[in-house]
Structure formats: C-alpha cells, structure tokens
C-alpha cells in the first residue's frame, strides 16, 4: 500500500486520478478500522491532513462553511453553530465517544454515508450542502441528494468533499438532535434531528429527519407539513410520527428490531420537539 500527504486539494485530486484503488484518509476512525478488519485494502491512501483549506471554518451572512477535516470535537465546540445550525453541533457532540470525536471528521462522516451514525441525519435536517471537488472543478450538492444509499454517495471516482455549508436558516429557528442507544457511545438505535421555528405556541417551520431507520436519513415533507401551523399537540405529533413510520425502512439488528424502531420514532419525535421548544425559550 502507498501513502501520500498532498498539501493542496489539486494535488490530492491528481493523486486520486492517478490511482484506481486510492482512498482518502480523513480522521481514519472508520477507514482504518475497516482496513484492520480486512474489509478494505486500498492500494493508495491519500491523507488529507496537510491540506490547510480543509480545516477552515468561514462565517458568511448566510451561514457557516465547515472544512471537511473539522473533527466532531471541533464542530461540537463551535459557538457560531447557533439557531438552526445547532442541530449539527448537537449531533457532533453526541456522536460515539470522546476518542472517536477527537479523530473522526465531518467530511469523513459525509463520505462514509453510514446511515447508523449521527451526522448524515443532522446535516440533512440543517439543509446542509457539500462542496465537492473533482477533475471538472467544484460543485455544491445538497447532502440529502449526496447520500444515495447506505454507505453510498453520489460522489464520482476521483472526487472529494472539501467543505460543508450549514445555512443559517430562519431567524428564531432552533436545531436539536436527540439520540437513543443501548449504551452510551453505541451507534444510535434511532436518532431524531430537527430544525424548528415557533411563533409563540404555533409551529411555523419544521424539518424533521430520522436517522438509523433506513439506508439514508429519512426526511418526509408531509410529516414536516403536518406539524406546520399546529400547536404541536399530541395528535399532531402522533400523526407526523405515523407519516415518518410509514416511510421508514428500518432493519432488525443487534441494536433493536425494526418494530422497536418504528415504536421509537413517534415517541422520540415528541421528546425531541419538546426539548427543541425548551431551547427556543432559553
């Protein structure tokens, strides 16, 4: 196996283009574990650690650009991730455990596209967009459309994610991430990411995304719409929960049965909404 540490995105892209079996090494939390288990054996590892722009965080009027090499620990500690954007911060702070949060990166989470972990769902809830660099230049892709299947993205061979844009969202919006797992630090059995705008007791905007309940983060427009205009009373939440459950395609696995996950979705939705509303009042 060969190993390279390019210092610019362009050098990195050239290396990816030159080697068919090249892989990007970000934090290594998943890739190195998979290599140790013999599940992947890249011929070329392109480390992204020495590319300065991948660690930049830039604030604009519309939101925040987070470099792909930002660690989850860094994201969790980023005070500018407020309002709607806090859903990403909240998810990053709850992911796995400190050792993983110190290693693993935002870009790594996007490209791994593991449906069982926190960030994909939170980024979809935040309406985040990923900047993808490739041989033809750079383009912006909504994370929601980048994630096409479990462990599969729409990235083409030779492309890499350089940074992620988190839009600021509506004034007064709150973002929140709620996870449930067997033990702390386990992958979530189910997670709920949401962005909520309240006007008094009335919901003006809602964007609800369920994690670990299908191959990609589950986002159902009808469920969001079912909440908008309501006072988020029990029947409203239950009906929105039913719409999500109807679209969910969870699996039976060691973390819980598919049926349990279907039971948890509406239950955790109610809890996530009330926790988010508490944040809204702070």
């Amino acid at each position: 196996m060969r190993y390279a540490e390019p210092e610019t995105v362009e050098e990195g892209l050239a290396l990816l283009a030159a080697h068919d079996d090249a892989r990007c090494l970000a934090g290594g939390a998943s890739l190195v574990a998979m290599m140790n288990a013999g599940r992947v054996a890249p011929g070329m590892l392109v480390s992204l650690h020495r590319i300065p722009e991948l660690s930049d965080i830039t604030e604009t009027g519309d939101g925040l650009w987070l470099g792909a090499m930002c660690t989850h620990r860094g994201v969790a500690a980023e005070p500018r991730l407020r309002g709607a954007m806090a859903v990403v911060r909240s998810a990053a702070g709850q992911l796995a455990h400190p050792a993983i949060r110190n290693m693993a990166t935002l870009g790594g989470s996007v490209c791994l596209a593991d449906p069982h972990t926190e960030l994909p769902a939170a980024l979809v809830a935040a309406s985040a967009r990923a900047e993808v660099a490739g041989p033809g230049g750079r383009r912006l892709v909504p994370v929601e459309s980048l994630l096409v299947d479990g462990f599969r993205t729409s990235l083409q061979r030779g492309e890499l994610v350089t940074r992620v844009f988190i839009p600021r969202g509506t004034d007064g919006a709150v973002g929140h991430h709620l996870r449930f797992s067997r033990v702390s630090s386990d992958y979530p059995t189910v997670s709920l990411s949401l962005v909520l705008v309240m006007d008094g007791d009335t919901c003006r905007q809602a964007r609800v995304v369920v994690g670990a309940s299908g191959p990609v983060p589950l986002h159902v427009d009808a469920a969001d719409q079912r909440l908008v205009g309501t006072r988020l009373e029990e029947a409203d939440v239950a009906e929105a929960g039913r719409l999500l459950v109807r679209a969910a395609t969870p699996l039976d696995d060691v973390r819980g049965s598919a049926e349990y996950r279907r039971m948890l979705i509406p239950r955790l939705l109610g809890r996530a909404l009330s926790q988010a509303r508490e944040h809204a009042h702070v």
Binding site: G38, H97, F180, R182, V183, S184, S185, D186, Y187, T189, D253, V254, G256, S257, Y260, M263, L264, R267, L268, G270, R271
Partner: protein, 774 residues
Amino acid sequence: MSSHPKPEPVGDVVGASVPKPDAREKVTGRAVYTDDLRVPGMLHGVLLGSPHAHARILSYDTSLAKALPGVRAVLTAEDLPPVDIGAVIKDQPLLARGKVRYVGEPVAAVAAVDPTTARRALELIRVQYEVLPPVFDAEAALRPDAPVLHAPRGPGHPNAASHIRLIEGEPDGAWAKCDVIIEDVYETPAQQHIYLEPCSTLAEVDPDTGRITLHTSTQTAFRVQAITAEALAVPMSRIRVLVPRVGGAFGGKVESTNQPITAALALATGAPVKMTFSRTDDMTMMRSRHGARIHMRTGATRDGRILARQVRIYFDTGAYADDGPFVANIGSYFARGPYRIPHVDVECWCVYTNKLRAGAFRGFGNPQIHFASEVQVDRLAEALGMDPIELRLRNALETGEKWLGGAPVESGTLHACLERAREVSDWQRRRQRAPPAPGKRRGIGMAAVAHVSGLLGSSATVRINEDGSVNVSTGAVDTGQGSDTALAQVAAGALGVPLSQLHFSRPDTDTSPYDWCTGGTRTTFTVGHVITQACEQVREQLFEHASAMLQRPVQQLELRPGGHVGVRGEPGTSVSFGAISGYALYVAGGPILASARWLFPAWQLDTQRTHVEGLTSMGNGFFVFAAQVAEVEVDELTGHVEVLEAWSVHDVGRVINPAAAEGQIQGGFVQGLGYALTEELLWKEGHLLNPTMGGYKVPGALDVPRAIHSVLLEHPAGPGPFGAKGVAEVSLVGVAPAICNAIRHATGANIRRIPATGERVLRELLARETQGGH
C-alpha cells in the same frame, strides 16, 4: 471444619489497602502479557472455524494451504491423537473429528511465519461437509425426535449432559396449604466473559528433550498442564506451564483455551508458536455463560412463610459439556435460595445444542437461579403486601440451619447483610419513590444473595531466606483481581513481616506447589488457608531456634512486627528472622521452610432428608451471604433503564485488603449490570450475530451508576485466613434480580427475561397499559 485456630494477624498489613504491586506497570502499559512475548523463529497460529452448526465432515484437502509459502503446518483431527477432553464428560476433540457441532468450531489449525500468511492459508483449506439438521433450543433438544449431537453415553436422552432431581418434604401436598402462589418462566442469556485479554498461548518445544513450555493466559497452570498432556497423549512431566500477567478471566480460562492446539502446532513444526485470538475468534470459539430457562413456582402462607417451591431448569450447554454439569449442580443446589422452604422439588437438565459451548462464568449457575428466585420472592412479597426485605428476613436461614440437601449453614449472616442493606440504602425512604426526572419512573429493588466459597486442592510453601525475608510459593494465578497482593498480605500478617521483605512467586508447574484453579471464590479463602497453615509451621521452627538463642521456653515467645521474635512482656529482648535463619542454616536444624496442603471437603448430602438424583459433588461449600440494592430510572418512552445508585453489602468474614475487595465488588456489580440490561449473545440459524465489541455491548464508564457502595461486614468464621470468606463471584449474583425488582417497583413491569433491554421493558410497559394496569 469447625475448630480451626484463628490467630490474629501480627502488625497492620492485614486490613490495609495496600496498592497492587502490578498496578503501576499495568496503567503505564509496561505489564507483560502472553501476546507481548516474542521469541526468535516464532510462528503464528490460527484456527479455521466451521461454517455449519451441525454437519458431518466428509473430507479435507489441505494441500493448497500447505503449499503456500510461509506455511509450516496445517493440522486437522487426522493429525492429532484420537483423544476427547472434558472436565466431566470426555466429549470434545481439539479439532472437530467426524462432525462439527457449532458454527465456529475449530476444524483446522495453521502455523505460519506471520499472521497474515496464516489467515490466507485458512482460506485455502477445503473441507467437504454433509449438513445435518441442527437444534438450538435446550427444551427442543430433549424431544424424542431432536437431532442428536453426541453418541449416547447410556440410558436417557442422548442430548442430556446431566439430569438432576432434588426433592425435600412433600411438595405435591404443600400447595393446598399456600395462600399465595406465584408462577413464571424466566430466561437468562448466554453472557460472555469479555476479559480484556483474549486467549493467548506461546508454546515452545525444547529440541533436545522434546519438553513443551507453555506461556499462557489462564486461571490455572496445573489444569492446563494436565489437559494439554491428556489431549496430546504425552506425559505431564513433558509439559511446563508459566503464567504471565493475565488480563481478566472470569471463569472463561478455567478449562483449556488454545493451549493444547498451540502445543500441537509447536510439536508439528518444531518451532515456537504463538496463538492469540482476535476478539471475534475468542467470542466465536471459546465459551459463554449458560443461557437458562427456568420454570418456577413458589407458594407462601398469608403471614409470609414460604412453604413450597417447584423448579425446572434447562441449562443450554451448547455443543460440548465443558463445565456444564458442574454449573447445573450449583444451579440446582441454589434453587431453594437461602430460605427455609420445607417442600421443594427441583429438576434440572443440562442440555446439548448446536451452539457455542457454555462453561464456567463468575457465579457458575447461581446468577441464573438467583434471577428467577429473587424476582419471584419479590412478587410474592408484593402479593402478600409485605416489604420485600421483611419477607426475606422472615425466611432467611440462620447459622446451624440446613441447606437444601442437608449441609449446615456455618455462618448464617444473611440477616445481618439484609439489615445493613436496608440501612445504608435508606430503603424505607427510597421505597416511597423520589420524584423522577420528566418522562421517567423511579424505583428501588433488592436481592438476597448466597454463594459458596472454596473448593478442591491447594498447597503452599513458605521459607525464610538467610536475610530473614520470606518466600511464599502457591501456584495460584492472579487473574488481575489482586490475589497475589491479598495472599502476600496474609503471609505478611501471619509472620509479622513487612511486604517489602516478602516475595510472592508466580505460578510455574516445575517449581510451584499445586493449586487447582483461581475460581469458585476460592483463592484468598483456600490458598490463604494453606498459607496461614504453612506460616504456622514456620513460626514453630522460628520459635524453636529463638528459644535456644534467647534461652527462654517457646511458650514465652511472641512474633513482633518487622520480622522479630521476642519474649512476651520484655520489650528489650528479640532476635530477627535473619539472625534465626543464620542460626538454622549454620548452627542447628537446617533451612526454615514448611508446606501445607488442603483438599476442601466434599459437600454433605443427607439422603435421608433429601431425595437426590444425578447431583455430583465437586466438594465446595462454605456458604457466604450478601444483599444487593439498586435504584433505577426507567424511560417511559423507550423502556431504557438507568441504574442511578447501588449498594452491595457483603459479609467478607475478615477484610484482607479493603480497596481490592471494594474494587472486586464494584467490578462484579458492573458485570452483573451488563447481564441485567445489555449483554447477550444473539444467534440466527446458529450463526452468532454479535461476535464483536461493537455488536455485543458491555456497560461503559457512562453506563454505570454514579455510586456503587461496597459495604464490607466482618463476621469471621470458617477455615479462611483470619476468618476471611470469599467475595469474588458473589458480587455479580444478585445484581440482575435487584435491578429487575427495581424496574417492577418503578413501573409494575414484571421482567422475566434478561437482559432487560429497552425493547423488552417497553413491551412489558405497553402490555400493562393495554391490560389496564398502572
């Protein structure tokens, strides 16, 4: 066993929280474990596991694997002596012979120059199988038409590894006299040991003598020596076993692990071979706790006297008996609980199925039966409208009363444990239910615990060196729990020397005196006993010489702290151990040394009192008692249970090292918490679904209660050193029922199957809602 002298320890080392001498090297990563050992020319061994749960082996083709460069040996059963091993039933080949009986069963072994080459060779081994119908459930395996795993050994169902019946009183007639009867079926999981150090062995063969030296992670150097000799059909004298630091064992390393097959590879290649399991190989190939299904019925009178109990236990021992029949003995022996129930009917089956073997694991059959018994007694208290502790106090055995089978309880301190548990947990107040967090329900529960301490043979040699320092040699393995430290403290206290003048030897079958095993809550208790006996003989020799040196009769002499003998009441007079040793070595008598040995007596079964079938004694049974309390919060939405605080009250007889005892109790509580809430091997059609630390979840640092209060009571009794009793396994035994009783107190949910995962608890909560409960 009643009249052992109980000398008081000399000095203050017994009862002191002396740090473990190996603690620093462990926390700094310098400790040397088996896998850290490297010798020139060392090969690496790996095993090929069966892909089928039950299949006939038709043929092997190892030629491609043998041809791979770097491969030095490929073994199958055809290359090994036709020997089956097993502690109780000789049913187990080193590599599957003729048949495979579980997925993962070792079928072939490879030694190669590096682990990658060895694993690549595994992929080149071709084995032809004829798949047979499997059976995965213990009760189903006892049906007449069930697939049979092993050749019948006699009458009775061939899948029954053992069958026990214990009857006392007249159980059939007693039910009519009961005012309240509770009946349920309880299920407990196959829990795995998850010792941090996977099984590992380095085998070396001396080219001149053919002698095999094994460095290995084990609980017993001597059993490994005996089993390896048996399996390879070589004399025991050709095998030497040494034990480096051990990273946990918990019963999983009581029998052989990968020692015999690693030795076979070393013999086949003539080179040193190391085999260290990956976590997944360890979880797939070694052993687990017995999963159990327990049908139990208990009846009591209105005033809270428990009158009758009927129990039918099915222990699933997997593909091989291993320690299963012994586990079934303990499970049956504890089926009445620590209560005076006059009418009892116990039936117990230990059954083969096509799964990973089950064997010894901290508690050894007792956590299973305690779960059923203590949850059922709690429900009985509820039905009677009595406080759970009150009901237990009313029925708890006291000193002199008889255990199931007729053995006397020699130190019946359960009352003391229950009363202290009630006090330290502030039971009455917490039972009123503190307001929980929103969306949560809070409750507190408890369990009474009884276990046995000590079994089988131990020996110790103690000698005084020329400078007066002391060497203690026992053959006992410290598995990380700290027995080397506690036993050194026992010797230091018996002779009055500081620990700095005492050397405690690590086990080596060439030089150490015999010890059966670090297991059965026995090491401090049994090995400590023989150390005090040897020290007593050494003291007599010291006094004999000191009497001549000081010109005083032996009766006037005493041991003094610091390694001195003096005249009682005369502070100025004393001679040091060094001076006495010099006198013995050069003037009279010869070197000072002594040995002591002991075989723990077999348990008593009174066949006049009890109808006994199928129960064999390993000879263990000094009863020890404890009480455990847990406070929990249950999440109404998810069913997730959080243990907030816990109390574990143990009569340890005499505290040797308080910090070590408290640590062991806390560790037992956490392992019990995993058993209660999260740990469970899951199979699908015979394949393990979670043979990784990611899939199989042990509690982490954030999952344990904010405080686990270890409370040590001292009621010295029995043959242990200075009246000490065992504590090791005890601290796990009552945790699951205490937690499940707390869940029921919080929510009303009657948990009959552990682990009480969020999913299971939520289903119980919803079932109660639809039944109109609250």
